[in-house]
Amino acid sequence: MCGLCGIVGNAPHWTDGVPGPSVSAPSASGPAAPDTPSRRRERQERVRGLNRVLAPFGLTASDWQAHAYIIATRTGRSEIVDNVAHLWQAAARLRGKPCDPLDPVLIARLEGDARP
């Protein structure tokens, strides 16, 4: 991804779009996934899912121009990343250690959220 604009050249990530004959599966280095309504919906769902998981770590995620994600701390420090894998690297930089899905506190919080 271009460091200045955050748009040009970001290769699709394996999590982008369900692979299938009816969906243009992202190639290894081909153009980024098309900006279709279904992809936009998917990005919105991803941001929602990320925020559910990032909240216990004091972080937030947002979509940026349908091409990137912004991850931010409560104090406003932020990074722009082009996919969800890079987002975890940025999260680790921002909080000083990785966000671990095996963290018992996170798991307990998510389990609590799921209870009616």
Binding site: G9, A11, W14, T15, V18, P19, G20, P21, S22, A25, P26, S27, A28, S29, G30, E42, E45, R46, G49, L50, V53, V84, A85, L87, W88, Q89, A92, P98, C99, D100, P101, L102, P104, L106, I107, L110, E111, A114
Partner: protein, 327 residues
């Protein structure tokens, strides 16, 4: 984009017969259009195969194979090779075989290709073949953590020295670490070394990894703390949530997750999806036209080192809201 060249990795401990297997590959006409990257040209004894020296570090063999020495930087060596291929300075090879050093962790080689946009554009990761020495495998397994890693990342395991030691005690060790790789005996006269690098049929591969369930039950942790297990989900998986969970899991615990493979019933998708990852490196997921067997439940197979199966399962349940259960 022209078709990407597969990069196959030949891994195995020092003295496990890796170079002997490589020499056999170089002797195989079907693999004549290969470029082979080795640590030291002198070690493989190419004299009787040699056609000419292209330069100090590259030779052309009579079979048509090119052999190059890798100094320090594999990425640079691969780019140089691709450039020379494009300029017609070396034959237009259709595969690359990289021999890893004996004690090396093979994963950084795969990461080099996956992480570099140029290499990713021209190359794709092919087969990982690991040689296992039947004489010393037990000892290496107990004493060298890299042993389990080399076995875990393999698509094909080649047992060597079975004329000196029985292969029987090694099978359960290999199965406990890697339940999905095919196991071959180098002494087997019917072994076609070209087949070791052949593309796997995705359906057959998915089947080998995710069935029969008994093979994928959590094996007792072996001495190095490596074990494999299979989670079976009782309902379709949400793709976006799975992506969040798995990328997060691999980022935080990639060094302990030697392998993940899965056959998934994705919510809203008509076809099953096959995912395949080696530590931090995830291959592009593939869809299958149909389920390989009658079982349509999502299955995720993990090979982990010193990670709690129960914790991974609980985490998956908390993220995905499912109740994974063992087959």
């Amino acid at each position: 984009m022209s078709e990407r060249v597969p990069l196959h990795l030949l891994s195995g401990f020092l003295g496990s017969g890796k170079t002997t297997l490589l020499r056999r590959m170089l002797d195989t006409p079907a693999l004549g259009d290969s470029a082979v990257l080795v640590n030291e040209l002198g070690e493989i004894g190419l004299d009787h195969h040699l056609l000419r020296h292209i330069d100090g570090e590259t030779v052309l063999l009579r079979s048509g194979c090119i052999c190059c020495t890798v100094r320090d930087d594999l990425g640079a060596a691969l780019k140089d090779l691709l450039n020379r291929r494009a300029r017609g300075e070396v034959p237009a090879f259709t595969r690359i075989i990289v021999e890893s050093t004996g004690l090396a962790d093979p994963v950084p080689i795969l990461s080099t290709v996956a992480a570099d946009p140029t290499l990713r554009h021209h190359l794709r990761i092919g087969r990982v073949v690991t040689t296992v020495d039947a004489v010393n495998a037990g000892l290496q397994n107990r004493q060298q953590p890299e042993f389990a890693k080399q076995v875990a990342v393999a698509d094909r395991l080649v047992l060597t020295k079975t004329d000196i030691a029985s292969a029987e005690p090694i099978f359960p060790v290999l199965r406990a670490i890697n339940p999905g790789a095919s196991v071959h005996l180098v002494m087997d006269p019917s072994l076609d070394v070209a087949d070791l690098l052949a593309e796997a049929d995705t359906r057959a591969e998915a089947l080998a990894w995710t069935t029969p369930p008994s093979r994928l039950r959590s094996a007792p942790a072996h001495e190095a703390g490596v074990h494999s297990f299979c989670m079976v989900f009782d309902r379709p998986v949400d793709w976006v949530t799975l992506g969040i969970w798995l990328t997060m899991l691999l980022h935080a615990n990639g060094a302990s997750i030697l392998r993940v493979k899965g056959l998934l019933d994705v919510a809203g998708a008509e076809h099953p999806v096959f995912i395949n990852g080696v530590q931090h490196v995830m291959h592009q997921p593939l869809h299958l036209d149909e389920w390989p067997d009658g079982d349509r439940r999502s299955r995720l197979v993990f090979i982990v080192r010193d990670l709690s199966r129960e914790l991974i399962e609980r985490s998956a349940r908390a993220f995905l809201g499912h109740v994974p259960e063992y087959a």
